[in-house]
Amino acid sequence: MKLSTPGSTQESELKAGLSDYNLDILSRKRAGLIWRLIFQASTIVGIIALMILILNIINSAYGYSALKAKVDPDTLAVEGVPLEEQNHGQLVAVLQSHISGPAFKKLDNEKPFSERSEADVRALVIARVVRLQVEKTWNLWDSLTKSGEINTEVARDYPDAELRFTSWLNSDFINRPQTSEPVTAGIRTAIYGSLWTILFTVLVAFPIGVGAAIYLEEYATDTWINRLIQTNINNLAGVPSIVYGILGLAIFVRALEPLTSGQIFGIVDPTTANGRTVLSAGLTLGILVLPLIIINAQEAIRAVPVSLRRASYGIGATKWQTTWSHVLPNSIPGILTGTILAISRAIGETAPLVVVGASTAISFDPASPFSKFTTLPIQIYQWTSRPQDEFRALAAAAILVLLMLLLTLNAAAILLRNRYSGRF
């Protein structure tokens, strides 16, 4: 329904007549509708892609698997005590008697049996002695829809195998250390490795990054040197991470070997006395995310309104008092956002850590900053490069764990940020 146009009475010549305008409201609205649909479609495409990814991973992480034991666990019972109930000493004896001497010694060197927990040793027994092997795995979709077919196939092709529904992602998976056998593999080592690495990353990058941001925003004058520094920082954020890996290798692993291997402090990893340690990884990743943190912190500090600073100066505060008591507290939400971004990036980095020397086959938790380590992405990478199906399932499970870890860290940081922005 069109509004009635006003009758023109005594209007001055300056006012244009309505006939000069093309008031096609309908076509304007139509254009807006079309764009809205386009944007909605883009969002939906993005959501669909995400869902496909996640469903694919979940699909791989759960399903039927046919398991066959090389050595029947019942035969390992010592004096009538089944494997599950044997104590530490019995387990060690079983292990010793069933694997080769050099292999046993190697395990002992990696981590003395006296220091390994009972669960660890039991896992080793299952892995190296019982050698539960996976004959075949099926993914979740197949397991749910074609269970009959699977049963017949197993009965036909793998008569000795036991068909079990495995959720590759379970609490054992998280708590067990890594082993070479897929059935007993766990990612505890990798989780600890990731967490330790991130800890050092943040310890290094956060203070340096925030400090640099404060200096650049509050104290640096607009000279060509400072502009050069600023440009370089912005560019460094886009450097491929492998470059940081090479940098880390050259400086932290090799040049600063006494520091990163712990020689200076006298705490040295018995298996390798070199710089390929958690500390090196943390430092490397720290340098990697430093530009990110600086840029975000700068944005946050810049976003604090000038009026607040003026108010502070107006009652006779010095520059430092203003920065410490007003600018920083009000820019913490933004700085924390930058830190979240940095952590998210760092957790997922694989290439630089490969260069720096993350081990791919360790099975004990890192004991100190100066020990060997592995991280979740590296573990995933290693498993996906194995041909067997079961490793793919393990990789999927590990990916899920990585995603959950990321979500948890993000949530924690967001909670922290909200708490701070709600305060004065």
């Binding site: 009026s307 607040l308 108010a311 006779g316 010095t318 008092q321 009000n330």
Partner: protein
């Protein structure tokens, strides 16, 4: 205008400028100002936009130095000392000559903290509660906020926030309070409250106010300085300075007359 009976020996002029010129890099914004600010009086600076009123006001407590490239020539004498002497620390100037801004900008802290923080950084060692109450009373805000001192300063209305900023400035015991269009963002009732407050404050402090509201300048001030862009240099200068009554009933300079009667662009 009531006569102020001084019981102690104090000079009548609190601030006096001598040939004050203010520059932004090479551009001269304010040229050759010679004016004075009298103790326990309200002095208004009026003039059209862009003539340098705020620049001049900010030069009284060296706030213009926060803008990079800004410097001043000439002297600003405060209590017998030139504020622009190289030996003088601007930080010290700024708590003896406080400032209230156009848009109220309380700290995003509690009302109590807003006032206490300033006192604390200047090493106040007395009873903080007493100081906060005294400042809020002087700013005519105590009754309205005495039960909610821990609430955020930003939760107050515009007029209350401005009074909080005044209380915050009072916390460091200034002698002069500079106000840069303090009521321009407020509704008429809040504006009147601020004007009443100024009349009370001038008993203990000296006030300089910049305003583009002529009626406010006429209502509130004892002395008025009229600023305008001077002829050739595009720099602002004080073209007339006199008692407010005279400026608004029979100004001497034709340009002042044109401005106060509204016939100036």
């Amino acid at each position: 205008m009531q006569q102020n009976i001084e019981t102690t020996e104090k000079p009548e002029l609190v601030i006096e400028t001598r040939n004050l010129n203010i520059f932004y890099n090479d551009f001269r914004a304010v040229s050759n100002v010679n004016m004075s600010v009298k103790r326990h009086r309200i002095t208004a600076i009026i003039g059209p936009s862009g003539c340098g009123k705020t620049t001049l006001l900010r030069s009284f407590n060296r706030m213009n130095e926060l803008v990079p490239g800004s410097h001043a020539e000439g002297e600003v004498i405060f209590e017998g000392q030139n504020l622009y002497d190289p030996m003088v620390d601007p930080v010290e100037v700024r708590y003896r000559i406080g400032m209230v801004f156009q848009k109220a900008n309380p700290f995003p802290k509690s009302i109590y903290e807003n006032i206490a923080w300033g006192a604390r950084i200047h090493g106040y060692r007395g009873r903080m509660d007493g100081l906060v109450e005294s400042c809020l009373r002087q700013a005519a805000l105590w009754d309205e906020v005495k039960d909610k001192l821990n609430q955020s300063g930003l939760a107050l209305s515009g007029g209350q926030q401005q009074r909080l900023c005044i209380a915050r400035a009072l916390a460091v015991q200034p002698e002069v309070i500079l106000m840069d269009e303090p009521a321009s963002a407020l509704d008429p009732i809040a504006t009147l409250k601020i004007e009443e407050l100024m009349q009370e404050l001038k008993k203990n402090y000296t006030i300089v106010i910049v305003t583009h509201n002529m009626q406010q300048a006429a209502r509130v001030s004892d002395y008025t300085a009229m600023m305008m862009l001077s002829d050739a240099q595009r720099a602002g200068t004080v073209i007339e300075y006199n008692e407010t009554n005279i400026i608004f009933t029979r100004p001497q300079d034709k340009r002042t007359e044109d401005y106060v009667t509204g016939r100036f662009g």
